[in-house]
Assembly symmetry: C2
Homo-oligomer: 224 residues x 2
């Protein structure tokens, strides 16, 4: 049976990909993998769990402390793990260049151990703005490195790679993802209901508006 | 100034690479990076520290809990970190396919944050026996994925790629690495003095024998 592993943040894009994967492989054959890398907003993990439950797929949370360390105070010789946000800047200390390379390589190792040959990720070149690890060219090179390095035969699927936000909303709608989308997390502020003002909320709202579809997340909070 | 980051286990090969890097870049321009992935033999970390100190280079230990999790009991939906060896098999629960992909991608992120464009690793194709993540082809693909994914210009140097164990010993000797080599760790049993019987000890002994050079690790314990 063909199986797939979804890299799943609980956000709009990976929720769309979850339903894409359900449609391709069937709910019994999809595992959603969420990375706990010390997200400032722990609500992301709860959203991921709720959505996976709604979709009826297995869900695994894999801790990655290393990203916190690398993203944070790794300038000293001896490093202590620090998973909290920086109290002064309020920024998460977990940004690491090429983070998707790490996520996908871990996902590939996880998939390898289970005989899974399909990895699905919601990266999109369209959104590419300082995120070179989301580009198609990067994904292709990484797929090659993974397959050589693990002697495996994995395909990294990127169903959203060339879609606009509008098209992603339309895809999610056509795949029946809208109930789950009501629990997906986007807001940079970690707010529920979403703040509506941060760049992530604005981008999401524009996508739904252009697709002429109500955002079920907004509807759920009665704030439409 | 050209700088280099060395992926440094404290073993024979990466100790040789440390002196290769010293020779290429100078001790002020080399950082040794050791991954603490829950090694069964904690002595490896002490060896790495001792050797880095002898060589006069900066040394950083970066924790990777995720490998323990992936290598271990990650078959359940909810995963707990378990960094100890399996008490029944005595094997470390940290083996993960393509582990070098993870190490080198973290090293690249670490290097990126410090403006370092050279990464040195002791992987060798000669030793290739079930370790596809040590092959030259894998390293080349990974270098491309890293450079695309981080918009960087990193070179992964593999000075031992095509050397036999004998040639590695000769290289280490010519680079003045022998004092440090006396503290390098090889034994699978984690023993000091080394057990002399495990495959790693046997392979190491053969290399020194073929090079007609005394192993300073053996000499140090007066067990020659």
């Amino acid at each position: 049976m063909r199986k797939a592993l979804l890299v799943f943040s609980g956000g709009q894009d990976s929720t769309t990909c979850l339903y894409w994967a359900l449609n391709e492989y069937g709910s019994d054959n999809v595992i959603a993998l969420t990375f706990d890398y010390g997200q400032r907003h722990r609500i992301e993990l709860q959203c991921a769990e709720k959505i996976a439950s709604l979709a009826g797929v297995k869900h695994t949370i894999l801790p990655i402390d290393t990203l916190s360390v690398l993203g944070g105070n790794a300038l000293t010789d001896k490093i202590e793990i620090e998973s909290e946000a920086d109290s002064e800047t309020g920024l998460p200390n977990t940004f690491v260049p090429g983070r998707n390379l790490i996520f996908l390589t871990y996902a590939a190792a996880f998939a390898y151990q289970r005989g899974i040959r399909n990895i699905v990720t919601g990266v999109a070149q369209t959104d590419y703005s300082g995120y070179p690890d989301c580009r198609e060219e990067t994904m292709q090179a990484l797929q090659q490195a993974i397959n050589l390095g693990m002697e495996s035969d994995v395909t990294i699927h990127t169903p959203l790679m060339h879609l606009s936000k509008k098209e992603t909303v339309e895809l999610a709608n056509s795949l029946g993802a809208m109930e789950a989308m009501g629990y997906s997390h986007t807001c940079y502020e970690g707010a529920q209901p979403p703040c509506g003002a941060c760049p992530a909320c604005v981008l999401r709202a524009r996508g739904f508006q252009e697709a002429a579809i109500d955002d079920p997340l907004i509807t759920r909070f009665g704030a439409s």
